[in-house]
């Protein structure tokens, strides 16, 4: 490929060269209805004059999400962080809750706002998600009241293994499934697993409301509790005592965008899978670079493209590669690393060896509405050049963050 040949001897931006891209290539999906659809949907909302709080579009979205995921209840919530706070409150959690060491920061934060304390658990060496055996070991040590696991990277965590551990100790298990919408195992969604699951519809996810989330569960009583905390609209006849309400209302604006996104979902997933194939082909044979394969699924939503970097073989660490790409205007810092326990001075550093290794080696690459085959080719060529020039770059880059 001509691009890659010309880039091999490129002067990287960290050494004073011109960035490969004139503007930042963003992580995340960022699909949005085109202007004509947006305008039509919003003129309808203005004509109806129903703006928020379990309106007709939100109800349609809830029904559609529940049907798509094969669950009894889907409840739209303002955003993922608030949905996680509501979830902890609806489950009446008090005490220490086990969370994976690598996950969105909102997991640990939601627990702190809900008056609980997050305890970090090590992850599976191959999938990067919560390890059932590590969870079991921590639960055996006592004083944990619940498990909050996460499905990451378009993959599904070891739901069966985690449920077995939760059952063994008689504790509730629930999921942040923010990155798993549309991913299936055994030909079906796993959204009914655990007591409840939280899905994100933030712009970076494959199903987008611009901003938003929903909680799903098969448990009628729990669903009533969530609705009652969210606001007192649409909660049906069951009134459940609530310790304290929150406001998780979801607007018709959010619902309109999500419904349009739903219409395009299959096309987005297909495009993600095509771009993944492009990346895999372009990066094949590059020493020290592994494109993370979706785990635990027969179909992934394909919304994330994750790399594991073997520093010894590639010549640069994952942290160094992120810094290098950032200077080329390529976002590459995985969002899940921001929630990593080592940033959190309240918890100090404990020995979570697999999580440590993943944190240092994990790199994410753009795979969204603005990414095309040419972008993939350029990024792959940058990686090849980085490998070729690794020795010289390592000294410039230092250890990386």
């Amino acid at each position: 490929m001509t691009t890659s040949t010309s880039l091999l001897s490129k002067t990287f931006a960290v050494k004073g060269g011109t960035p490969a891209f004139p503007s930042m290539q963003r992580l995340g999906q960022h699909y949005f209805p085109d202007w004509a659809r947006y305008e039509t949907a919003f003129r309808d909302i203005f004509a109806r004059q129903y703006y928020t709080n379990h309106g007709p579009l939100a109800q349609r979205l809830e029904a559609r999400a529940a049907s798509y995921l094969g669950v009894r209840h889907a409840m739209c919530i303002t955003n993922e962080a608030i949905a996680l706070c509501l979830a902890a409150q609806a489950l009446s959690l008090q005490g220490k809750v086990l969370v994976p060491a690598i996950a969105g920061m909102q997991l640990a934060q939601s627990l702190q706002w809900a008056g609980c304390e997050p305890v970090y658990c090590d992850i599976d060496l191959h999938t990067g998600m919560m390890d059932a055996q590590a969870a079991r070991a921590r639960l055996a040590a006592g004083d944990i009241v619940a498990i909050l696991a996460a499905d990451l990277f378009g993959s599904l965590a070891d739901h069966a293994g985690l449920q077995a551990v939760a059952d063994e100790f008689g504790l509730p298990l629930y999921f942040d499934a923010c990155a798993a919408f549309g991913s299936t195992s055994g030909g079906r969604s796993r959204a009914g697993d655990g007591r409840l699951q939280v899905f994100s519809m933030q712009s970076s996810h494959v199903l987008s409301a611009g901003e938003g989330a929903f909680i799903v569960t098969d448990d009628d009583q729990l669903a009533a509790h969530v609705r009652n905390i969210r606001s007192n609209y649409g909660m049906g006849q069951v009134i459940v005592p609530v310790v304290k309400t929150s406001n998780g209302r979801f607007s018709e604006a959010q619902a309109a965008v999500a419904l349009a996104s739903f219409d395009d979902l299959d096309a987005h997933i297909a495009r993600n899978q095509q771009l993944r194939q492009d990346y895999v082909a372009a990066l094949s044979g590059l020493a020290g670079i592994e494109v993370l394969a979706p785990a635990g699924v027969d179909r992934s939503n394909g919304q994330s493209l994750m790399l594991r970097v073997d520093a010894a073989k590639f010549g640069l660490s994952g942290r160094q590669l992120i810094a290098l790409l950032q200077a080329e205007n390529v976002q590459a810092e995985p969002q899940v690393n921001a929630g990593f326990y080592r940033h959190d001075s309240r918890f100090g550093t404990s020995a979570l060896p697999v999580a440590d290794a993943w944190h240092d080696s994990l790199v994410e690459l753009p795979l969204g509405s603005k990414t095309d085959g040419a972008t993939v080719a350029t990024i792959a060529a940058l990686l090849a050049a980085a490998h070729a020039q690794a020795a010289g770059l390592a000294t410039v880059l230092g250890a990386g963050r």
């Binding site: 928020t52 303002t78 993922e80 702190q112 008056g115 712009s203 901003e211 979801f250 604006a253 959010q254």
Partner: protein
């Protein structure tokens, strides 16, 4: 002929309802759709839909300007804006928030989410709000914060509360959700106290679908609020000491807020015309009186609050039941007061008999975008009918 000639014509007796469409006590203003689409075009072209795009940034600047405050920090809702402002302002190591009990039904929950304990004070019987005088007896060695709340009509005692705050060194936060447009002794609401909090849920003066914001003149506080709201990430992209949560406003909601801001003076005029109609129509009905706006100050006329006097012939609950049956979603004013509600967290209060008495007397009447002057004439006519026919209504066992 009036709208009702006989008590059997009442909706409660199975008669036809006066209104086909629900008349609520919420503002529900509809901004200009073209203006909304114009602001939407900005973020649509920029392809940024949430996480502080240019529309949300413009909204923060415009709101700060509107309130005459140095800073505006936006949130996805007023609820979390209040929680985070409390968290930032509460004195470290202290636990209690001095606040009224005769107020917004979720306000104690908000205090609980901030990890603090409500300590309820009385309200002034004339102003219906917390004052420096009513707050003072609740101040003790555990007080972390004074939470002033503007009542639905007019403003709370900012001078008294600011003086108490200055004297005790306890920060003052104001829930200003109901007083977006108002001024207090010439000062714009939003520029007072340590900070003021607002909601932009669709029932409020600014209908942003959903949303909220905090205004302050304290740059350091604004910076802390931004970090806390942006998932607790500092400028370096790493988690800060203080626990945060991702509660940012999205671009669609920000576009809606801007469209409302553009039209706010026209909205105030329309609400003032509704208020004038109520003044005119309720003047001659015995036993019910309108809560008057203090027109020596700038006011927004957003809600209509009425008081049932001792000679009103029915209970408030019976009156509301009759109105509800005509498709008027009238509501009692802040009832039950917060200390009367069962919650799953601790609360502190002493003698609140004045609050309990006041909580029985007021009701909110239909207002806002869906209510015309003709509607108000019908509402007044019905109230007059109820007043005249109370005995027959009771006799028929309707209430």
């Amino acid at each position: 002929m009036g709208i009702k000639t006989n008590v059997s014509d009442l909706g409660l007796a199975g008669g036809p309802r006066i209104f086909d469409q629900i008349k609520s006590v919420s503002n529900l203003v509809k901004p200009d759709v073209e203006k909304f689409l114009g602001y939407s075009r900005m973020f649509h072209d920029a392809e940024v839909y949430t996480g502080h795009g240019e529309v949300e940034k413009l909204m923060e600047r415009r709101l700060a300007e509107f309130h005459g405050a140095a800073h505006c920090v936006s949130f996805c809702g007023g609820f979390w804006g209040l929680v985070m402002a409390m968290k930032c302002l509460a004195l470290p190591g202290k636990t209690e928030v001095v606040m009224p009990s005769l107020t917004y039904r979720r306000l104690a929950d908000i205090v609980a989410w901030a990890g603090l304990t409500p300590h309820f004070c009385e309200v002034d019987p004339e102003l219906l709000c917390i004052t420096g005088e009513t707050a003072r007896p609740c101040i003790n060695e555990n007080t972390a914060l004074i939470l002033g709340v503007h009542p639905i009509v007019n403003c709370c005692d900012i001078d008294g509360l600011e003086a108490l705050s200055a004297e005790t060194g306890i920060p003052l936060l104001i829930d200003a959700v109901e007083s977006v447009y108002e001024a207090y002794k010439g000062r714009k609401i939003g520029s007072c106290a340590n900070a003021e909090c607002f909601s932009m849920q669709s029932s409020k003066l600014f209908n942003a679908f959903e949303g909220g914001y905090v205004t302050t003149n304290d740059g350091e506080l604004a910076g802390r609020l931004r970090i806390m709201r942006d998932s607790g990430l500092g400028p370096d992209g790493l988690p800060a000491e203080q626990v945060g949560l991702g509660v940012v406003q999205n671009e669609m909601h920000a576009a809606m807020a801007l469209a409302c801001l553009d039209d706010v003076d026209e909205q105030m005029q329309a609400n003032r015309a509704r208020y004038r109609a109520y003044q005119r129509c309720l003047a001659d009905i015995p036993g019910i009186s309108l809560r008057q706006f203090d027109e020596s100050q700038r006011c927004g006329y957003k809600n209509i609050l009425a008081e049932l006097d001792e000679d009103w012939p029915l209970t408030r609950e019976a009156t509301i039941a009759i109105l509800n049956a005509e498709n008027m979603l009238c509501r009692p004013y802040y009832f039950p007061s917060l200390h009367m509600k069962k919650t799953g967290y601790p609360m502190i209060w002493g003698d609140l008999s004045q609050t309990e008495e006041l909580a029985k007397r007021f009701l909110l009447l239909p207002c806002g975008y869906f209510v015309s002057e003709q509607d108000i004439e019908k509402i007044a006519e019905l109230l007059a009918f109820i007043q005249k026919n109370a005995a027959a209504i009771k006799e028929k066992g309707l209430v």
